[in-house]
């Protein structure tokens, strides 16, 4: 492989990967340090901050709050996103591309603005869900569903719809044809999409900013609030658990779908 890649590019790429990964390595080391904070050179390893995290009310409750919120988000995002992806793969109406772009748009639009809009909407309509888990839930669904649509859409693009049509023409009901033919073929794509929805919600910061309150605080917000004042190594220990969760999720995704194909350009 090395022969096709000029040496300079290889060196620059290694430097780039170091830049991308170094902060993550540092968080792991900071969470495992034996000292009061991470120093150079390091003072040795210990589990004291991991224990401190597991005993801290603040981070542990935030961790479980985020976990619960991510599970709730995952369920709705998977159902709504899969249904929408099915529609987008089967329709030919002219607004199809625009509709797809509309559903994917939360990924790139400012989360602070959408969070602010939802916050003002909850208050002005008197829905009573501002600064509750329900208000956060709605915001997170907006930001997680696009990932389900993308992943399931990729699985559907690889699925030959004539299989389902064959079942239909042989007399299957639409639901039966879907359940027996289509679903088994895209099932792993749906699972991968739901994992994405989970992690995106678990790490979501921007949209949560206006919607969280001291008693309903997701982990990123809790870490941010402490990080503004001091480097608390037990926050880094919480980070280790989050890093493990994300890495495990991505590895699981890789077992479910071909990541290479998923990330490659999906042809319409």
């Amino acid at each position: 492989m090395g022969r096709r890649i000029p040496l300079l590019i290889l060196v620059l790429a290694v430097a780039g990967f170091s830049y991308m990964l170094l902060p993550i390595v540092v968080v792991v080391l900071a969470g495992l340090t034996a000292g009061e904070f991470l120093t150079f050179p390091p003072q040795g390893l210990s589990l004291r901050w991991v224990v401190a995290f597991l005993q801290s009310d603040k981070y542990l409750s935030a961790f479980f709050f985020s976990f619960k919120l991510a599970l709730m988000t995952m369920i709705v995002a998977t159902v709504l996103g899969t249904a929408a992806a099915l529609f987008l793969s089967r329709t030919r109406f002219v607004g199809r591309a625009a509709m797809r772009a509309f559903f994917l748009s939360p990924v790139v639009l400012p989360g602070v603005v959408v969070g602010f809009a939802l916050f003002a909407f909850y208050i002005s309509t008197g829905m009573g869900i501002s600064r509750t888990i329900w208000g956060l839930w709605i915001g997170h669904i907006l930001y997680s569903t696009p990932y389900v649509i993308g992943t399931v859409g990729a699985a559907l693009a690889a699925f030959d719809i004539s299989l389902e049509e064959a079942a239909r023409s042989l007399g299957s009901s639409p639901w039966r044809a879907f359940r027996r033919i289509t679903l088994p073929n895209i099932g792993q794509g749906i699972q991968a999409g739901s994992i994405f929805a989970f992690i995106v919600s678990f790490g979501q910061f921007e949209v949560s900013l206006f919607l969280s309150a001291p008693n309903s605080e997701p982990l990123p917000i809790a870490m941010y609030n402490s990080l503004r004042y001091q480097f608390d190594p037990s926050a880094a220990a919480a980070g280790i658990f989050a890093i493990t969760l994300v890495t495990a999720s991505v590895l699981l995704t890789n077992r479910l779908v071909n990541i290479r194909r998923l990330l490659e350009r999906q042809q319409p």
């Binding site: 890649i5 991308m20 790139v108 990541i259």
Partner: protein, 301 residues
Amino acid sequence: MTTNRTGFPVRHYSSYRRQMKWLLVSPLLVFFLIFFVIPVGLLFASSFNPQIIGQVGFTSELTLDNYTRFFSRSNYMAAAGRSVLLAGVVSLITLIIAYPMAFVIAKTEHPGRNTFLLIIVLAAMQLDMVIRLYGMMVILGDNGLINQALRLVGLIQAETSVRLMYNFGGVVAGLVQFALPFMILTLVGVIRGIDPSLEEAARSLGAKRWRAFVRVILPASMPGILAGSLLVFALSISSYIVPALMGGFRVGVLPIHIFQQVAESARFQFGASIAFILFLLSAGAVLVYLHVGSRRSGGLA
């Protein structure tokens, strides 16, 4: 769809199927309408209401005062300019760092190694930004690892430090960290899509490997470069968390101003006008991105 590919007529249930199809998408359409289009629309509408501290929600009294205020105060105009400059600088630097990474991933043919690299990029992309910034702050802070190392080798005095964050450069460093995976994933697909015979042709005509790269591969990856830069522009101009932590509120960009106006001063209408301006800048970049990358946009990017 009136006939399927096997040639059997399926006309008899086609209209029924068409209605069924819309049932699939209607839940999400309704959800997006109620919790995305209407709230964002109402927010923008309320930016045309007079500023009344503590009041939320749209009223029928219309004015352009908030926008006049924004465009007549130099600190808000400066914040808008700073936001655009920041996003532009980040796009350029991210492109320079990401291109070699994407090139290596695209040219790694061994499936295991290739998947491994993609998993790393995807995991970095999905990891909570606050955690990655924690790492950045431990490295770049006034008492961070770099400053400690500089003191250790005697390059700077014991009690002094080099300012690596809480300034524009620190915010750029954090945003590049945030944007790298998005740029890499956009570029990999485009670079892999370049016909290898193009490079081979250049090589066989006597071009050196480096020259072939600069003259053939780089121009052929222009669509990805453009799309990735616009994507990164939209993402970084929207970020609150990176300027907040890496800039320590000293780098006043639009998202920071929105939060301050709303959460600290309860100026909802003025905050809404800044939000609208930020939204237009971000959505503008996204629209150009969709136009540029319409044939190439991938599943996740």
